[in-house]
Symmetry: C2
Subunit: 195 residues, 2 copies
């Protein structure tokens, strides 16, 4: 069977990957612009130009500017991957997840919160989503006293790791293996989770 006669059907795996890559490029462009310009000053065309796609394609995938920006301001899918481990191994898992995300994508699921001051009024949307999607989701997993405070402190450790890797670009951290760092840093995070 030649490629030309491929029957219509669900998108092939490569096509799905292309769509995912395009969506990721659009989100990345929107995050870049939102970290540097006021919300009101950014147009869909700005986002499309930066992502190297057409404005109608942005509309196809994300509906409109507000829904695209709401997606950029959300942490919910990021938090799901961050928290996807049993509680007694969650410290190490979260450390690995932050470092793997930094190494493979040049960003991690938590790092966007550090740019909240640049978003003006929308910074509070980012903060509220961060608390609800990340901190509160983690706190809900914890038992014992002060789960909300312990969740904040555990997440603080993870944010700091991402800043040291991705922003301060600590050379020793970047040269170390992820397993080494998980061994060194994971127990400190775990102490907040299961003291």
């Amino acid at each position: 069977m030649s490629a030309v006669s491929t029957p219509p059907g669900p998108p092939s795996a490569p096509a799905r990957r292309d769509a995912e890559a395009t969506k990721a490029a659009i989100l990345k462009a929107a995050r870049h612009l939102l970290a540097r310009h006021a919300h009101a000053d950014i147009t869909l065309k700005d986002v499309a130009d930066r992502a190297g796609v057409s404005a109608p394609l942005v509309l196809k995938y994300f509906g409109n500017k507000e829904s695209l920006f709401a997606r950029v301001m959300s942490f919910d899918t990021d938090a799901a991957a961050l928290l996807a481990a049993p509680l007694d191994d969650l410290g190490r898992h979260m450390v690995r997840h932050v470092l793997e995300s930094q190494r493979d994508r040049g960003a991690d699921p938590l790092l966007r919160i550090v740019f909240a001051p640049l978003h003006g009024d929308h910074g509070d949307v980012l903060r509220a989503n961060f608390r609800a999607h990340v901190v509160d989701s983690l706190a809900a997993r914890l038992t014992g006293p002060d789960p909300d405070l312990r969740a904040e402190l555990a997440v603080a450790q993870l944010i700091g790791l991402g800043v040291m890797y991705g922003i301060a670009r600590g050379p020793r951290l970047r040269d170390a293996t992820i397993t080494d760092i998980a061994d060194r840093y994971g127990p400190a995070v775990q102490t907040q989770l299961t003291p």
Copy 2:
């Protein structure tokens, strides 16, 4: 003796305090602008206007724009205060120092590093100073294996604490006493210092 007849001499304590407050206001204004605009786009007058002083006063205290910005990009005086404790109590001290700085000044000695991506080429100056003044100074205090990596990980924890307090504005962290957080978070930092 009336105030009018006060003989010339070194500045009085109130005058020194005024000068220190003015210098602090100028540095704060320069940091604010450098976090939001390209280095080349900022004038001394912009800094003076934001600080509520005259441009000649900025020149009097800091010489010129380059020396003012070099000062803003430096961490050396901040690092001295951060590291001013015996090694066996340094984890708790650094946690207290970050939180007291956040509470009293709305900023901490490390947090500026998170804005490195906004400084363009000057971001690398900020990173290099951060490593030399903070991470290397801490590493020089440590004994045992991998002091540079352990210093990066300890500093990562402190950065994260400052982001959670000052940027994400974690409500439980902000409501807790500094002593409570030093008791909870200090030992995790100390583990990197004296494992």
